[in-house]
Symmetry: C2
């Protein structure tokens, strides 16, 4: 008992932390692998407490039958990475209710991984800083997709729009953004991240790459200057979208009709299949949603939509 008492020194053994971990949109059109933003809906709900049993106990409170072995679960893998950097041998019990459908392309795995470490860190009186938490949570992404990437994890933890300038060493920059409404449509098809990655060419034309970095520079400037027109003009992807969008039925039409309905622009969320569109106001975002419905109803494709806003707080404590 002495040992247990020691490791919980200054910590509240009976504390329960409840959080909401938001969905995120990676890439943001021209920012492949380096930009992402969090949205206010949907979000996963998680609850974590210390457990008398060492190690991680995972309880799923949803329909997805995700693995409960920590090393096979993205939230577990993230938390394991955190525990490796601690001297104490804590036990954690984590209950997860996923509202973000796995495979939808809006950072479902990132929400679990980020939520787990942010929640556990609160139990530990915020021992680690955000950048370190991102590093831990990236282990969940590695489990989910084989690659340690942070373009969902970082916005999920920091909130708002984040730039991951570099992964090794990790360099995350929070970017201020004006009010932005987000319409997301998730067509019920499967696009495996690994497939979406494997169809990309390893080499690209320098002249296309120049267009891309002109656009990302314009997008960052547009966000920081709250210049909606510039944001709209910069939401152009000449490299990735033309290749990946062929995996998403109705993509071109949705983009065209969304812009006609007043959207600033948008594209594939992460590696798809979800599509996101940014708008200046809620009415436009809802008109965009209507267009998305019409197109997918015509195609006879089951789909979910969300009209939400950019989330500026990241994982939220409830």
């Amino acid at each position: 008992m002495n040992e247990i008492k020691d490791i919980y020194q200054s910590l509240d053994r009976n504390k329960v932390v409840k959080i909401q971990a938001p969905a995120t949109v990676a890439n943001m059109v021209c920012g492949f692998d380096v930009l992402g933003f969090a949205v206010n809906e949907p979000y996963d709900e998680m609850q974590i407490r210390f457990s008398d049993t060492a190690g991680i106990t995972i309880i799923n409170d949803d329909e997805y039958n995700l693995p409960t072995e920590p090393e096979k679960n993205v939230a577990g893998a993230a938390l394991l990475a955190m525990m490796e950097e601690m001297e104490e041998n804590f036990g954690f019990e984590m209950t997860i209710r996923k509202n973000i459908k796995p495979g939808s392309g809006v950072g479902s795995s990132a929400a679990s991984a980020a939520g787990a470490v942010v929640a556990a860190n609160r139990l530990l009186n915020d021992r680690f800083d955000n950048e370190t938490l991102v590093r831990f949570a990236m282990n969940g992404e590695k489990l989910a997709s084989g690659v340690k990437h942070a373009d969902n994890i970082a916005p999920c933890i920091y909130g708002g729009v984040t730039l991951i300038r570099s992964i090794f060493p990790l360099d995350i920059i929070a970017l201020n953004a004006p009010t932005l409404y987000v319409t997301i449509v998730h067509p019920q098809i499967e696009v495996r991240t690994a497939d979406a990655r494997s169809i990309l060419k390893q080499k690209v034309l320098l002249k296309d790459a120049i267009k891309q970095w002109g656009n990302i520079a314009g997008l960052v400037a547009g966000l920081l200057k709250s210049d909606y027109e510039l944001i709209g003009r910069s939401l152009e992807d000449v490299l990735i979208e033309p290749v990946r969008s062929i995996l998403i039925p109705g993509f071109d039409l949705i983009k065209q009709k969304s812009k006609e309905a007043g959207a600033l622009g948008g594209g594939i969320s992460g590696s798809g299949p979800s599509i996101f569109m940014l708008s200046r106001d809620e009415a436009t975002a809802k008109n965009v949603e209507k267009e998305m419905h019409i197109i997918y109803e015509q195609l006879g494709l089951d789909h979910h939509t969300y009209v939400t806003t950019v989330n500026h707080s990241g994982v939220r404590f409830v």
Copy 2:
């Protein structure tokens, strides 16, 4: 005489406009073909007035023996492009004293072309806006290098740091920047822009392009947030510099020693051979200059240096 009277209606026929057209640094390391900034020194001096003779008369007031036929002179070519868009058949007399050595890589041709159209526009009571002036001046760049590019022209006219998000259609974004000191060294060797361009590969690795657009996004954010550390970390070019720097003796050593002396970072100015380094304060910029001197003296290479600041006004009226 009636005709002459008509075309000068509301204009002061005897006005003389004197300007200083600043040197500029294109590319800014990670912003190949899309970023550039103006500096306060060196600058070209130009003077323009209406002439009774139709067309353009060019008088060179320097040692460079540049062509005086308008269609062979970059300032003339820019002014000719402007005249094509005017109904009136004006005559202009332009005196040019170049202080920016042609071929030095700090926008010598851009200064002549931009200076000419800005000065002529003032004679015409500012008939054209800055973006249109950039479009005219790009014809001078086409004459000089075969390519219509704006990464020297735009900062020369707008001042400060400019992003050219797109050339067709032209989309120029002025970026606020904090105080930045600039050290420039011009080794007296010739690097032809055409050569510097031809050694670049047409295809690049996607993973390198991703690094590059992470860096340009970081640089733009660093400038707009006045975050010097971020500016420094983002001044990295994994694509162009490794290829082009082999044309510039001592490049790697100058970069290394400049950073050791406290520079935020820097690289090739335009297509070279000049090298620029950014610093937070004047003392550091002067220490960087000393390091540059030492290195080129050891290499026995003639060189000029400038310690200056980012110019926020562009072409200046005297």
